[in-house]
């Protein structure tokens, strides 16, 4: 038999969400972790992508270059725009046919909408927002199981969840929790076209229109630099200063939950357990105390520069460099020095 490690290749309008590539990287690693078991048996192991949409053949090829050995494609007009029912019916039918061992889905709005429905229909377990995934030995289990680790209770606790007796073992993972795997332009793989009995009549929903919301919808997950503000800003006006610094650094503005709840800045800027997970090269935390709920969303940043008046603020526990002081003195000084640096470099 083949032990299949599946990744849902999320796409919208012909664009794959990068979380799918991140998950293909994870699936390859998970598959390699059972290689020792596979070697002892007649089993095989395969990393496979599941692609749903309309006219998505080029994306299947891209998935192969990111590590899928095989892509099952559901390609039909009924799948042009995401709708819960056609998509979940499609995935359920493929999973019933091929019996994957592990099924990973990005914890995006689309992925969360889909994963809960699919897991319920397959009567299996689903662990949301995993931060670590591993195939590991578990007592009384004949084979390694997916150890799915995630924060719970607002990030105060880290729990490892098992799905012992049901398949597939399903998990969702937020964008940017894992790194993008290297693209192999010469990778070869197979594309398998599948069909399922889903029609426009049974789709259960009609998308009437899309409302572009570009102004409000910042994509902080994939920014290289984030300058984030917290309660210590003292008010919404402080974000103007952060924006100036963010622009000087070529980055975007983030925020703690307190600022979003207070209405200082829209939700799309929120970093943390109930906001976005980010892993920029540089994360500047200004006036953010660093509650656990915030930390779980940004602790994977390469460099964390924290500015806070309170030297006991928990953000200093994870900061690469911490500055204890008044952010309204520190940030203007930072702006001056960065501008001077840039000028010096351009000479």
């Amino acid at each position: 038999m083949t032990r299949r490690f599946w990744v849902f290749i999320e796409q919208e309008n012909g664009q794959v969400h990068p979380v799918a590539w991140e998950l293909l990287g994870v699936a390859r690693r998970l598959a390699s972790e059972v290689q020792d078991e596979v070697d002892k048996t007649q089993d095989q192991v395969a990393v496979e992508g599941i692609l749903v949409g309309h006219e998505v053949e080029p994306l299947a090829e891209e998935a192969i270059r990111y590590g899928a050995e095989r892509v099952y494609a559901l390609d039909a007009p009924v799948f042009k725009h995401y709708r819960n029912k056609p998509y979940h019916a499609g995935l359920v039918s493929l999973a019933q046919k091929y019996q994957p061992e592990v099924f990973l889905i990005g914890a995006t709005t689309l992925g969360r909408d889909l994963a809960g429905s699919v897991a319920t229909r397959l009567q299996t377990g689903l662990t949301a927002d995993c931060t670590q995934l591993q195939m590991g030995e578990v007592k009384n289990s004949p084979r390694k199981l997916l150890l799915a680790t995630r924060p719970a209770f607002g990030g105060n606790v880290i729990a490892t969840i098992l799905c012992r007796n049901h398949l597939p073992q399903m998990a969702t993972v937020r964008p940017r929790v894992f790194t993008l795997p290297a693209l192999n332009p010469r990778a070869k793989g197979e594309i398998v076209h599948e069909t399922v009995a889903v029609t426009e009549e049974t789709a259960g929903a009609q998308v009437l229109e899309f409302i572009a919301d570009a102004a409000a919808r910042v994509k902080i997950e994939y920014a290289d630099v984030i300058v984030a503000g917290g309660r210590g800003l003292g008010g919404p006006a402080g974000f103007a200063l952060l924006k100036e610094l963010a622009e000087a650094l070529g980055g975007v503005v983030g925020a703690s939950r307190a600022c979003v709840d207070a209405g200082w800045i829209p939700y799309d800027h929120q970093v943390g357990q109930t906001g976005k997970t980010v892993r920029p090269k540089l994360y500047v935390a200004a006036g953010i105390s660093g509650a656990i709920q915030h930390k779980v969303g940004m602790q994977n940043s390469d460099f964390i520069l924290a500015i806070n008046r309170d030297s006991h603020a928990p953000i200093f526990d994870i900061a690469t460099v911490g500055l204890v002081g008044d952010l309204y003195e520190v940030i203007p000084a930072m702006l001056r020095q960065i501008r001077a640096l840039k000028e010096a470099r351009h000479e």
Partner: protein, 288 residues
């Protein structure tokens, strides 16, 4: 209330709610890594409160009623009362020892069977959930219930634009990753709600008074619905907790006191370190 085809059409909405520990106030025993439950206040899950507000808003527009259901320990009564205070009419608490330890699959089973029973007594138009509960943050129960009932699912709903009880459809605006989407689904539809779906109203005095003494119906594992024991609680849960721990501690970095060394010098040291780490060169647009 409207008279159509010889009968009155009334709106009936159901809201699935959860009582949760206030995660902002949780403390962990640093020795054992266990949750200190004692003294942690419980609250009505904030997203659920907005879902109740939305259901009540449409009830007030169209006439009808709002039923609230929750699976949880007896103390959940206080959260159900809070929903009554917000304008819900009927509360059902599904509570028994057999339900405890349920993961999202077992929870969605109990809620779906309960919705089915209520739908048979008194047909439903919409079922609401919060987009997620703040303790588990899984966002799985709403989609799970909808899948079990085969009701269309609209997640991350921010606005109900149109609700037509005669022609049996609802038009909802929902958030997606890149934009908002307007979606039309037949009734009954299941919605999971963002906070934008409705403002929490100030309680009307009669609702407030009614809520103070309100006792929800308590449903058990046997009555009025005879649940399948194999699908309840721990037994009905495919996932189990393998281990629990506290988040990894990072090695703390360097902390500089600006009032000791001066702001300019502190900032310079910090920026030098950013540069030395290599992340800054790409930020400044320099090619290496």
């Amino acid at each position: 209330m409207r008279f159509v085809n010889g009968r009155y059409i009334l709106f009936h909405a159901l809201v699935g709610i959860k009582q949760v520990p206030d995660t902002a106030n949780i403390r962990i025993d640093p020795e054992t890594g266990n949750l200190i439950r004692q003294g942690v206040p419980t609250i009505l899950n904030p997203y659920d409160a907005h879902a109740v507000a939305a259901a009540v808003e449409w009830k007030r527009k169209l006439g009808g009623k709002v039923t609230v259901i929750s699976m949880g320990p007896p103390s959940t009564v206080t959260s159900i009362r809070e929903c009554i205070e917000l304008g819900a009419d009927r509360g059902v608490l599904i509570s028994a020892r057999q339900f405890s330890g349920a993961d999202t699959l077992a929870t969605s089973y109990v809620l779906a069977e309960t919705v089915k029973a209520i739908h048979q007594q008194d047909p439903l138009d919409l079922i609401f959930f919060g987009k997620q509960a703040i303790d588990g943050d899984t966002a799985q129960v709403g989609p799970g219930v909808s899948a079990r009932l085969d009701f269309p699912l609209v997640t991350y709903a921010i606005k109900i634009r149109e609700l037509n009880l005669e022609q049996r459809y609802v038009v909802t605006e929902r958030k997606t990753e890149h934009r908002n989407e307007v979606i039309k689904t037949p009734l009954p539809t299941a919605l999971t709600c963002e906070k934008e779906i409705a403002e929490i109203p100030f309680a009307a005095l009669p609702d407030l008074i009614y809520s103070l003494r309100y006792e929800p119906e308590v449903w058990t594992a046997e009555s009025p619905v005879r649940f399948d024991a194999g699908q309840l609680g721990l037994k009905g849960s495919p996932t189990t907790v393998f281990k629990v721990g506290t988040p990894e501690k990072h090695a703390p970095g360097e902390v500089i006191q600006t009032f000791e060394v001066g702001v300019e010098s502190a900032v310079k040291t910090a920026l030098d370190k950013v540069m030395a780490s290599g992340v800054f060169s790409s930020i400044l647009g320099e090619t290496r």
